[in-house]
Subunit: 338 residues, 2 copies
DNA sequence: CTGAAAGCGCTAACAG
DNA sequence: CTGTTAGCGCTTTCAG
């Protein structure tokens, strides 16, 4: 087993306090003393037991991040950014995924691993506002993503309505008139995509285009397969869209695949816009036009918010923060006569 | 602050031990007692302090996973599988990424967060065998991936040479004769890709094909961009390959993009095989033929190995374990006259 | 500037 | 079946 502070103290012939001072770079230690203690530390290969330190200080330096699905590159890329942002504040990240299951999201939001995580960043899909009531413990929670809650927690998400409108405007600007939406939910009760759907509706109205409900395709999940299936369903029922706005890039990519398989040309026959700007969209054979949320900013803000509440300003007012986004036009969108 | 065992004991009018027994489902407690204690627990909203438990037991139930890059879907998908596998053993995963930097890999392998992680799963890129000497602490380490070390640690990786040979055989079987390899390293000293490169060479020899070194393209990293750049470099210098075997799917996808941009047809003019079977390859417009390592098995075996050493069998012999793989033929490979 | 002692919250002997 | 007590390894008053 590892050596303890006491062992080091004994070997160096000093008290544990002195050793502790050295280990923690306490300023007022004579160089001679420091030297002597350091030698003992090296000799024993002493490494401070962080668990003990945590117990004593009530802090662990660990924050948890829970995303729906690491297989979705958006969340993988975001997780990477969060890990980096956390490292800049000397925090480590405990990662979990919820598969977008409410049950799992509740579990996580209620603070799994009590006292081992100092704070929590959660990107919910199915979670309901009620689930957030009476969270035990005092680990700060920061919410990410499109779902909005009437709960006293920081929420970080780009302005989804405005972003969606930008996408629709882009398509309408190319003369597209039958713009489909991919990724609504079957039961309107829980509608994770409702802001983007609202943006779709609002912008169509503003552009004087009808928002034909037959152009809205529902899905159960948000992967490539779901995008392809929704696209096929839409086409099968004769919706004849000349453009598609998908809930996310994965679905958009799936949709493109489905379109190409049916002999439709992208972007000429059907233009496609995604959402997320995952790297894969840049390199797909038809490079994907997409709404690009500033992932770095999202990650940075989320971590900063947790850290701020952890040190110094625990009583900050909960805020809704909207990081930036841009529309990145690539090959999957073009004017009608391509 | 949260209530402690002692608070609960006081409220229930029993000793801490009794409360502890209830919390830990110790079998021999009278139902009446359990009921009484439970009521006190609920009333106070008591939640055991895991940090304290960890200190006491010397175990935290946390294992660390370090991969090069979460932006690479292979590692993201693998991380997801590891998290699931760990959860099945009641372990939580602390995730870190190394960017494939030796310095970071060394740091991780030396056991960052001493005593808070019970075990470590590491997928190294640049790490050298020397770096593994004299690891402090006793947290078991399991290595993942192509790099092999003469060090007493479990190593889990598919048979990369055989897998690469399968890919080349597949291409040769389609009559391809100038099969390029994308993803060697410039300095041969550190050659992460050496096993797959060896497989390429061996199988070409076996097939009676020349292994023309002008068909080997070096890269500095393994992303989509690197694949595209390597492909372009190869083409620019007039290598004229009729097939490409890439170090991984990302590079293969980048290569396809580069080929298409230059007006070459995939698979007719140039067939492409990747490695990893990331989901994106299934949905790309030219669906990617690839070597598919059994990620679930890799994740499961890695976790099982760590857990086994943690409980019961710490003195297991280090082993090299080869999970299965398959070649998945999709659209990016075909006979010459397409 | 350094030492002694208390205690973070929990579990595990050991009694009873 | 339940209570008492010691101590995991560290930091932190409080003295000196």
């Amino acid at each position: 087993m590892g050596a303890s502070l006491k062992d080091v103290a004994q070997l160096a012939g000093v008290s544990v306090k002195t050793v502790s001072n050295v280990v923690n770079n306490y300023p007022h230690v004579t160089p001679a003393m420091r030297e002597r203690v350091q030698r003992a530390i090296d000799e024993l290969g002493y490494r401070p037991n962080l668990t003990a330190r945590h117990l004593r200080k009530g802090r662990t330096g660990i924050i948890a991040l829970a995303v729906p699905e690491l297989g979705n590159p958006y969340f993988a890329e975001l997780a990477g950014a969060v890990i980096d942002a956390a490292a800049r504040h000397d925090y480590t990240v405990l990662l979990d995924h919820t598969a977008g299951l409410r049950e799992k999201e509740v579990l996580v939001s209620q603070g799994f691993r009590a006292h081992v995580i100092d704070g929590l960043i959660l990107s919910p899909i199915e979670l309901e506002a009620d689930d957030l009531l009476g969270r035990p413990g005092d680990a700060p929670l920061v919410l990410l993503g499109e779902r909005e809650y009437d709960a006293p927690y920081d929420h970080i998400a780009i302005d989804n309505v405005a972003a969606a409108r930008t996408a629709i405007r882009h398509l309408a600007g190319f003369g597209r008139r039958r713009i489909a939406f991919l990724g609504a939910r079957r039961e309107m009760a829980r509608q994770p995509a409702h802001l983007r759907l609202r943006g779709w509706r609002e912008e169509l109205t503003a552009a004087g285009l009808p928002h034909d409900d037959s152009l809205v395709a529902a899905t159960d999940a948000y992967g490539r397969w779901d995008g392809a299936a929704a696209m096929n369903a839409l086409l099968d029922r004769g919706a004849e869209p000349d453009a598609v706005f998908a809930y996310n890039d994965l679905m958009a990519l799936g949709a493109i695949r489905a379109l190409v398989e049916r002999g439709l040309r992208v972007p000429q026959d059907v233009s496609v816009v995604g959402f997320d700007d995952v790297e894969e969209g840049r390199f797909s054979t038809v490079a994907l036009t997409t709404v690009s949320p500033d992932k770095q900013a999202i990650a940075r803000l989320a971590v900063e918010r947790v850290v701020a509440r952890l040190s110094g300003a625990p009583q900050l007012q909960p805020e809704r923060i909207h990081p930036g986004y841009t529309l990145v036009a690539r090959e999957s969108t073009a004017p009608r006569t391509g």
